[in-house]
């Protein structure tokens, strides 16, 4: 049984965690930024937008999350898939795919605990256009 009853619940819970830690770790975030490529659940970024992390939350479907997260590398330096703790084992069984595509993997539970399973390398976003659009959106 899923930890979370819906992705919306998962997203709301995750938002609270981000709000809790953003000052301490000095980052900003936006939820569901549109007009890029796909709609990342969250984008975390620093002041100068030198480092951006896109997050895709999913209850179970790690494969679809991985595909989405790869798209977010068009405009972010790093992409993470975060799966409900009770289903992350399925993604863990396919960790080689996350490593192969350089996409991070973590689990998340209702208590707000995020457990990092794989940390990807930061790389340059591959789409100048969507990066430009992201900067436009975040600076507004």
């Amino acid at each position: 049984m899923a930890n979370f009853s819906s992705e919306e619940e998962m997203s709301n819970c995750f938002k609270k965690i981000l709000q809790k830690y953003q000052k301490r770790f000095n980052f900003k975030f936006e939820k569901e930024v549109e007009g890029l490529w796909g709609v990342p659940d969250f984008i975390l970024y620093d002041e100068n937008l030198d480092k951006t992390i896109a997050i895709e939350l999913k209850l179970k479907n790690w494969g679809r999350a991985l595909t989405q997260a790869f798209k977010y590398r068009a405009f972010s330096h790093c992409s993470f898939v975060i799966i409900d703790k009770d289903f992350v084992h399925r993604a863990k069984n396919n960790i080689d795919q996350f490593i192969h595509y350089n996409i991070g993997l973590a689990s998340f539970n209702k208590k707000g605990k995020i457990k990092k399973i794989y940390e990807p390398q930061f790389t340059s976003p591959y789409s100048k256009f969507t990066l430009f659009k992201l900067r436009q959106v975040l600076h507004e």
């Binding site: 595909t67 790869f70 350089n102 591959y126 789409s127 100048k128 430009f132």
Partner: protein, 396 residues
């Protein structure tokens, strides 16, 4: 085998492409072009190598430019209802026939009504009574010498229901016609048809029509036109936007709606339309990426300009820019013309294309590029299975 441009809103792109000797003709779409414009501004030379789709799919719905055509039922009788066909069918046939003959199209096309589900047998009878009989009688009186096609829309349930599919075949081949303008209506969320049974049944359908010496002209096909070619139709189509490469009845209903498409580019090596954003990943990760795209002197440099420059909005791919579609016309037309005439060799050829594409996709995956299911090669195993099923059904 010919390739006709399936025209839509941007029919000028098709005309321009045809002027560059790409394509063997056009299929004109009255919902997109005013009748007077079609009559006066499109040259007879083009029309003589083209045909006209009357588009009476929804007789009560004169969407967009359809109302400018005198034959459209609501111009014959306002507030036209289906039961009015009985009284008005000859007038409709007369006007529609006249329009096509006056414009000297290559073929005369008899329209038919759209239906979604497998209808009662009366549907066949109604197409005969409301369209085929009045059109043929009108045509005979004209004493002209054109080939006559009937529009046949085959959706997933028709194609997959053996009994109904065969009933349609037996009925249409008994009609005094030269062929069909055949439209496969397949609805799915995916941009490619990933249904081997549908595809193989569709190929069988084409084949059985051909065995009955019917001409088969396929409209609204996407890249699966390559598969259909194995059943040796007389023509397939090449269309720009997705709604011209995948028949959707909502195109003829009000407020087609939907968000604008993400710009894509056709890869002849991958047999797929790849989203431009993915193409941006290629130069950094996939060394021989340009080999995925058939060379084109006229279009590729313009299309890929945005990859080489700092961000410039003007060079960004956009669905309203013609170059990706013009490129597709050119490349797909060439792919079709390169097909061997001999069907056995053609089958091998297409199988090789599929195998090569699958290999290239593996290379892309190895290059750490993860494509979504509308850019990846997940349709190709279905194509391969469709070929196998089709050959098995043919006894090959």
């Amino acid at each position: 085998m010919k390739v006709y441009h399936q025209t839509g809103f941007r029919y000028n792109w098709n005309i321009e492409s045809f002027g560059d000797d790409i394509g063997d003709g056009l299929i004109f779409s009255p919902v997109n072009i005013d009748a007077k414009k079609l009559e006066k501004e499109i040259s007879i030379d083009i029309k003589k190598e083209s045909f006209f789709d009357p588009q009476i799919y929804l007789p009560k719905n004169p969407k967009s430019q359809l109302y400018t055509y005198p034959y459209f039922p609501t111009n014959i009788k306002s507030e036209f209802e289906t039961q009015d066909f009985d009284a008005e069918k000859y007038k409709i046939a007369q006007q529609c026939m006249e329009f096509q003959l006056n414009n000297e199209f290559e073929y005369i096309v008899i329209p038919s009504r759209y239906t979604e589900s497998i209808p009662h047998t009366d549907y066949i009878k109604s197409i005969s009574n409301d369209f085929i009989i009045p059109f043929l009688e009108t045509y005979k009186q004209s004493k002209k010498d054109k080939k006559v096609l009937v529009t046949l829309i085959m959706n997933e349930s028709f194609i997959k229901n053996d009994s109904y599919r065969n009933e349609i075949l037996s009925w249409v081949t008994s009609q005094d016609l030269n062929g069909v303008y055949l439209i496969f209506d397949y609805n799915s969320d995916s941009k490619q048809i990933k249904d081997a049974i549908f595809l193989s049944n569709a190929m069988q359908f084409i084949n059985e029509l051909k065995e009955n010496e019917f001409e088969v002209h396929i409209g609204y096909n996407n890249t699966e036109g390559l598969l259909y070619s194995l059943a040796n139709p007389n023509s397939i189509s090449v269309g720009s936007y997705e709604n011209l490469r995948n028949f959707q009845i909502r195109r003829f209903q009000e407020n087609e709606g939907g968000k604008p498409p993400s710009p894509r580019l056709y890869s002849s090596e991958l047999l797929q339309w790849i989203e431009f954003r993915y193409i941006e990943t290629l130069p950094g990760l996939f060394p021989n990426w340009k080999n995925l795209f058939m060379p084109s002197e006229k279009y590729l440099d313009i299309i890929f300009k945005y990859l080489n420059e700092d961000y410039d909005k003007k060079s960004q791919p956009h669905f309203q820019k013609k170059e990706p579609y013009m490129y597709y016309f050119e490349v797909f037309y060439k792919q079709i013309k390169d097909l061997p005439d001999d069907i056995t060799k053609r089958i091998d050829w297409v199988c090789n294309l599929c195998n090569k594409a699958i290999e290239e996709y593996k290379n892309i995956t190895n290059a750490k590029i993860r494509l979504d299911d509308n850019s990846d090669g997940s349709h190709l195993p279905h194509w391969q299975n469709a070929i196998t099923l089709y050959l098995k059904a043919k006894g090959g």
